[in-house]
């Protein structure tokens, strides 16, 4: 039932506001003539309604969520609590610096930690999501070439396994996209790359480990080829969890990157956001970094944190939002980083990789086909169900939907696009061996069902609040908001 259908005229949560005198000193022409039509419910009705909606969701707190490339790890409650302290929640974004030293100290230190793990020379925390970090990064590449009056560079190279945001970002920055194929073992095809680079190359965007779930072994050669052609390299940090504390993108030769704090630094996904996508840059791109950035100087023998703005960074690509970014997410990431510390961060990449390799081995033993059987899994790996689809008529989507009935969130389906009938599986380091074993058993059991009763698998899920939904109807007969008549 929709909240609008629960309503009763003139009902509302009366504890939440004081009835007020009508507004008479603003001329009528500016004023609303009819009520908007917001819900008319009591406080208890509201609480029950949203509690009941929450129960119709999978979440990390409730279920194993092996969603490839999304790094659905545990989101520590302690970090949530730290970011929810009144001093942080009630601080106005434009409050003066001398009232904000505690908050700014956290951000400054987070900048330092992110420089440390990425091998970059400067960090800006302001991008509010991975896609905005990508935007900032490619805009900086553009600003760099513009500054050098190198305006023939019109193309961004992107491996065809890349996330959809990469090409969409390149276009938002005014570039054409040229795709570079990957070889059969999942690495970028060096010969094709050599053919593709030239004076038109502005840069290359790449994820490593890639969305194929393997570490590109020739990344340094790729960097050399692109640099020699005069281009710059962008690192999409979506898969940073694989190598946190193990390998630094700066060492691989990347000039700029973003990190998804809602993945690698365990901040909650919130049902689709908020995220946070800080960017790191090497020295070449430092002059173009987006504002604001937190600086540190000594005043009267004490540390004083201050904002670096356009005045301090004249070649900056500019600001990316009304204020400084998703401060609350940055505080959660900072709290997480403090709890993990240096040693904890080394272990993230290690155990994420251990879990993925273990899960890959167990699934192979259970009869599943890995897309890259001769490669090490990174923090994630790809299973292809093209054989099951061909022989049993049960495809990757059917497996995904049936997993929901077993109480597991589905892995990422049909991505990367170049592998048919695939599941991209990422267990993360916070899952126990028992949880992973349970998932393997569920997959094995679905495989049996696919042989014995394929129709049942094809019509899954059977235990969710709804069965498979009619997406065609949803798009053809658009019903995007409720009308009561």
């Amino acid at each position: 039932m929709l909240i609008f259908e629960l309503g009763n005229r003139d009902r509302s949560a009366r504890a939440q506001y004081e009835a007020d005198e009508p507004v008479t000193d603003i001329p009528e022409v500016y004023l609303r003539s009819e009520p908007a039509g917001l819900p008319e419910v009591s406080e208890l009705q509201t609480v029950r309604h949203f509690t009941s909606l929450s129960r119709r969701n999978f979440s990390i707190d409730g279920q194993f969520y092996p969603l490839g490339s999304c790094t659905m790890k545990y989101n520590p409650r302690g970090a949530h609590r730290a970011a929810s302290l009144p001093g942080f929640l009630n601080r106005h974004p434009l409050a003066p610096e001398n009232h904000s030293q505690g908050f700014m100290a956290c951000l400054y230190e987070l900048q330092e930690y992110l420089k440390d793990v990425s091998g970059m020379s400067a960090v800006s925390l302001t991008p509010m999501a991975g896609a905005q970090g990508e935007f900032a990064g490619v805009a900086m590449i553009r600003a760099y070439h513009d500054k050098n009056r190198d305006d023939e560079r019109s193309e961004i190279l992107i491996p065809n396994a890349a996330h959809g945001t990469n090409p969409a970002t390149a276009v938002m920055c005014g570039y054409r996209v040229r795709e570079v194929p990957v070889t059969r073992d999942g690495d970028v095809d060096i010969a094709e790359l050599k053919d593709a680079v030239g004076p038109q190359t502005a840069g290359l965007m790449m994820t490593n480990p890639s969305t194929c779930g393997v570490f590109d072994r020739r990344v340094q050669e790729i960097a050399t080829i692109v640099h020699q052609a005069g281009g710059l390299l962008y690192y999409d940090g979506a898969n940073m969890n694989a190598i946190l504390g193990k390998v630094k993108p700066g060492d691989m030769g990347f000039d700029v990157l973003h990190l998804n704090l809602h993945k690698t630094f365990a901040t909650p996904h919130g049902g689709g956001g908020p995220g946070s996508g800080p960017i790191g840059v090497g020295e070449k791109l430092q002059p173009f970094i987006p504002t604001p950035v937190v600086g540190l100087r000594r005043v009267n023998d004490k540390d004083f944190y201050y904002w670096l703005d356009e005045g301090d960074i004249p070649d900056s690509i500019g600001c990316l939002s009304a204020f400084m970014g998703n401060a609350g997410i940055l505080l959660r990431a900072y709290a997480y980083a403090r709890m993990l510390g240096r040693e904890g961060m080394h272990r993230v990449g290690e155990y994420a990789t251990l879990n993925a390799n273990y899960l890959a081995v167990q699934l192979r033993k259970a009869g599943f086909q890995l897309a890259y059987p001769d490669r090490r899994a990174a923090h994630e790996f790809v299973v292809t169900l093209s054989r099951e689809s061909r022989e049993l008529g049960v495809n990757a989507m059917d497996f995904a939907k049936r997993l929901l009935d077993y109480g597991y969130h589905a892995p990422t389906t049909y991505f990367p696009l170049l592998i048919p009938e695939c599941l991209l599986i990422e267990p993360t380091e916070t899952e126990s061996r028992e949880e992973i074993d349970g998932f393997v058993q569920a997959m094995a059991s679905i495989l049996r069902e696919a042989k014995e009763d394929p129709d049942m698998v094809r019509s899954a899920p059977h235990t969710m609040p709804v069965k498979r939904l009619d997406d065609v109807k949803a798009a053809r007969e658009l019903d995007l908001s409720f009308t009561s008549d």
Binding site: Q101, P268, N355
Partner: protein, 452 residues
Amino acid sequence: MPFIPHTQEDTKTMLDDIGELSIEALFDEIPEDLRNGQLHATPEGMSEMAMLRLMNERARQDVVQMSFLGAGAYEHHIPGAVWELASRGEFMTAYTPYQAEASQGTLQLIYEFQTMMTRLTAMDVSNASVYEGATALAEAMLMAVRANKKSRSKRLLCAGNVHPRYLQTCRTIITNQQIDIQEIPWRQDRGLLDHGYLDGMQGEDFAGLVIASPNFFGGLEDVDYLTDWAHEQGMLVIGVVNPTALGILRPPGEWGDAGADIVVGDGQPLGIPVASGGPYLGYMCCRAAIVRQMPGRIVGRTVDLDGKEGFTLTLQAREQHIRRARATSNICTNQGLLVTAASIYMSLLGDQGLYSVAARCHHNTALLAKKVLALGNVSLRFPEPFFHEVVFELPKPAADVLAGMSRQQILGGYDLGLFDNRLENCLLVNVTETKTGGDIEQFVQSLAHALE
């Protein structure tokens, strides 16, 4: 090990099954010279208790004074139920609802949010939100350029009295696509857009006109005149509106003869703490005819195999994960958790509650203005009407006055000299429903003291 459940036994068993002796062996495909992730700047780890002790110290270090500072982020009462519910793990730790059957809670909630926003703005459709207000405006500008088939230009007219950081953000985001923003000056005497300037733009090709009402100064524009003028010129109208204001003000869907075409703003006032600038949510509504040019996620109601009602992401052919380089935007976030909070907030307030909050904000601002004017040496920089922000002209620079008020534990407002050096002596003050008569009196006394 923090958040890693493996016992030594687990690790050994798992490595045995993989057929390796050490975790390090799992990294053997990575060139050896790259396997040097040594951390130097990152300190050693700490327990949750120690971390919270540190964070408490830091949070206490931040001085939160009684605030009359708005300028894009507004302090309102947030009902206790809002974050109690929004912080439920089932909302907070869910992912984007790609698996619709396992995400009906989030999906229905977004559908309800979309309904609330269309009703509040009197527009046809809403998306599931974008990052925040400034980026919502940038996306609206890009959308107008795509959607306006009459215009061949990649130019937009934008109110010069929109929030200055919104305008800066738009420039950062859209200039890479060779889209030009032309600012409409505001009248020095009224703070409102200069209609005479628009007369000079008659017949020029622009894809859209951006109107902010309330504008950055808190003033109300002649939205009917501006909307009709833009439509006569073949432009799309983009409204930027504070959602609290829509508790009392005429919604953008009713501006002029035909209404605005796209409406955006920051949803922060709807139950989201000011929290240093984020996370907030950017809302985005439009007319039905141009929904396919809308960026971001959109939820639709449909039926399942049994004909039962359900909700799903729809029109995904606009989005980056399907359309890649031809997507309407690279965005793949909606501010799901903030949408949850805002939906609960709007449900608790209802029409009467939102009216009362908006009215109380306005009355409080009017009361404060009356008392400040009675001081004698302060005047209103721009005439009424205003919503819940007002500009005072002071006898000395606002920066000095703010410093003085701060010594009396009052955050007195926004120094407009930072926005425009002609407004050096001007202070932008916001009063919301959170302030009592006593608080307002304290502000006035503090101001009087700072002016001595």
